[in-house]
C-alpha cells in the first residue's frame, strides 16, 4: 500500500526544509513551531534532515546518538524563560512604578510647600528664619543652622509688627536679599537628589 502525503502535509514539510535553510516565511515559521511539538512525523523529518546535513558535511562522531529525549526531560525541570518569568513581568515593573510614584509624591508635596510659603510668607518656617527670644539670655544665630551669617544690611523685620503685638518679643529675622532664591534652591536641590537616587535604583533593577 502506498501512503501518499496530503497536500497540506507536503506543504508543511517543504516549509520545514526551507526553515532549515533560513528561507521560510514568518507565517510558515510560526505555523511550524506550533505544529512540530504536536506532530511526531514533522519532528522526525527535522531530525533526519539535520542528520543528512551532518553526514554531507562530515560532522558526525563515531557514534550517532539522539540525545534530544534525555535533554528534553532535563529541560522540563528548568524554569521557563521570558514571558513566564514573574520577576521580569510583574515584580520589576511594580518596583519601578513604586519608586516613580514616591518621587512624584515628594515633588508634589515639595511644590505645594513652596507655593504655600510664597502665598503666606509670615507663616513660613524655614531655616532662613530665626526666632529670637529677646528675653532669653542666649541668642541663637543663623550660623548654628548652617545659614550664611546675616548682616545688618539684610536683616529686616517681617510683616510682624511690634505695635500689633506688644506681648511678643519675637523678632523674625530673614535674609532679605536671598530669601525667595534660597527657598527655591533648597526645593530644587532636594528634588534633584531624589531623582538621582531614583535613577540609581532604576539602573540597579534593570541590571538585576
Amino acid at each position: 500500500m502506498v501512503v501518499t502525503m496530503s497536500t497540506n502535509e507536503t506543504q508543511l514539510k517543504e516549509a520545514l526544509s526551507a526553515f532549515i535553510d533560513g528561507e521560510a516565511t514568518d507565517i510558515e515559521v510560526r505555523r511550524l513551531l506550533k505544529e512540530i511539538p504536536l506532530d511526531h512525523t514533522l519532528r522526525n523529518s527535522w531530525r533526519y534532515h539535520q542528520l543528512s546535513s551532518a553526514v554531507i558535511n562530515k560532522e558526525l562522531s563515531t557514534e550517532v546518538i539522539d540525545f534530544s529525549a534525555d535533554i528534553s526531560s532535563a529541560i522540563k525541570l528548568e524554569k521557563n524563560h521570558g514571558a513566564l518569568n514573574l520577576s521580569n513581568y510583574f515584580i520589576k515593573p511594580l518596583g519601578r512604578f513604586a519608586i516613580a510614584a514616591s518621587v512624584a509624591t515628594v515633588a508634589i508635596l515639595g511644590m505645594q510647600q513652596y507655593k504655600h510659603t510664597v502665598e503666606h510668607p509670615s507663616s513660613f518656617v524655614s531655616a532662613n528664619k530665626i526666632q529670637l527670644n529677646l528675653a532669653s539670655s542666649i541668642i541663637r544665630t543663623s550660623a548654628e543652622f548652617g545659614i550664611p551669617p546675616i548682616s545688618a544690611r539684610n536683616v529686616s523685620i517681617s510683616n510682624f509688627s511690634q505695635k500689633k503685638s506688644k506681648s511678643s518679643n519675637k523678632i523674625l529675622l530673614e535674609s532679605r536679599s536671598n530669601s525667595e532664591n534660597l527657598t527655591r534652591e533648597q526645593v530644587q536641590r532636594y528634588l534633584n537628589g531624589l531623582l538621582a537616587r531614583y535613577n540609581e535604583t532604576e539602573e540597579k533593577l534593570i541590571t538585576q
Binding site: 519532528r43 533526519y48 560532522e59 562522531s61 563515531t62 535533554i71 524563560h81
Partner: protein, 194 residues
C-alpha cells in the same frame, strides 16, 4: 560550516526559547547535537563521559540562553560552551585538556572503526559508517537537478536566490528541489532505522 543561512533559523528558534517556548529548544538540540557530540569527542574518548558532557552542554546553554544576545552566532556560542565544559571536566578529573582548541571545521572523521557493530546497541544509536554509505549512495542516485540544488545549499551555503541564479530557475523551484532531495535521503534513513 554553514553561516548566514543557518543563523537565520537559529535566531528565530533562540528568540522563541527566550519567550518561554521549550519546544523550540528541542529543535535546536536536534539541529546541533551531532556537531556538539563530534566536538566533545575530540577531547574525551570515553563513550559514557562524552554523552554526559553533551547533555550538560545543552543544559548549560538552555540556562544561559536568557542572556544570549545575537551578536555572535548561536552555534559559535554553543560550541564555546561545549569546549569549556569538556575542558573543565578533564581538569576536574586531573586530566590535562589539549593545549589547542579544536576548530569546528575540523571535525572530519575518517576512522573506519565503529563501536556499534554490537547487536545490543541502543535503538537511537546508528552506525556512522553505515549511515554515511547509505546517504552518499542516495545522493548519487538523486536526479541531477535535485543533487545540484542540495549540494549548492549544503556545501556552498548559498541562499535560494543565489542557487536560482546559478541554476537559472525560479526560487520556488530551488526550494522544491532541495525539499525533494531531502525527502529522498529521509526515506533511506528511515529504512535504515527500521
Amino acid at each position: 560550516m554553514k553561516s548566514d543561512q543557518t543563523k537565520v533559523s537559529d535566531d528565530q528558534l533562540v528568540a522563541r526559547v527566550q519567550k518561554g517556548d521549550k519546544g523550540a529548544f528541542d529543535l535546536l538540540v536536534l539541529k546541533h547535537q551531532y556537531k556538539v557530540h563530534a566536538i566533545i569527542s575530540r577531547y574525551i574518548k570515553d563513550f559514557d563521559e562524552v554523552n554526559d558532557i553533551v547533555q550538560e552542554t545543552f543544559l548549560k546553554a538552555y540556562r544561559a540562553l536568557e542572556n544570549f544576545r545575537s551578536e555572535s552566532a548561536f552555534y559559535t556560542w554553543l560550541y564555546r560552551i561545549a569546549v569549556n565544559t569538556a575542558k573543565n571536566y578533564l581538569v576536574a578529573r586531573n586530566r590535562r585538556p589539549p593545549s589547542f582548541d579544536i576548530d569546528i571545521a575540523d571535525t572530519d572523521y575518517s576512522e573506519l572503526s565503529s563501536q556499534l557493530q554490537n547487536l545490543d546497541s541502543p535503538e537511537n544509536i546508528l552506525a556512522k559508517n553505515e549511515l554515511e554509505l547509505v546517504i552518499n549512495s542516495a545522493i548519487k542516485k538523486l536526479p541531477g537537478d535535485l543533487r545540484t540544488a542540495l549540494m549548492l545549499r549544503e556545501f556552498e551555503d548559498l541562499s535560494y536566490e543565489q542557487i536560482s541564479d546559478i541554476m537559472e530557475c525560479p526560487v520556488g523551484t530551488v526550494r522544491s528541489r532541495i525539499f525533494r532531495a531531502r525527502e529522498a535521503l529521509e526515506e533511506k534513513i528511515k529504512e535504515m532505522e527500521s
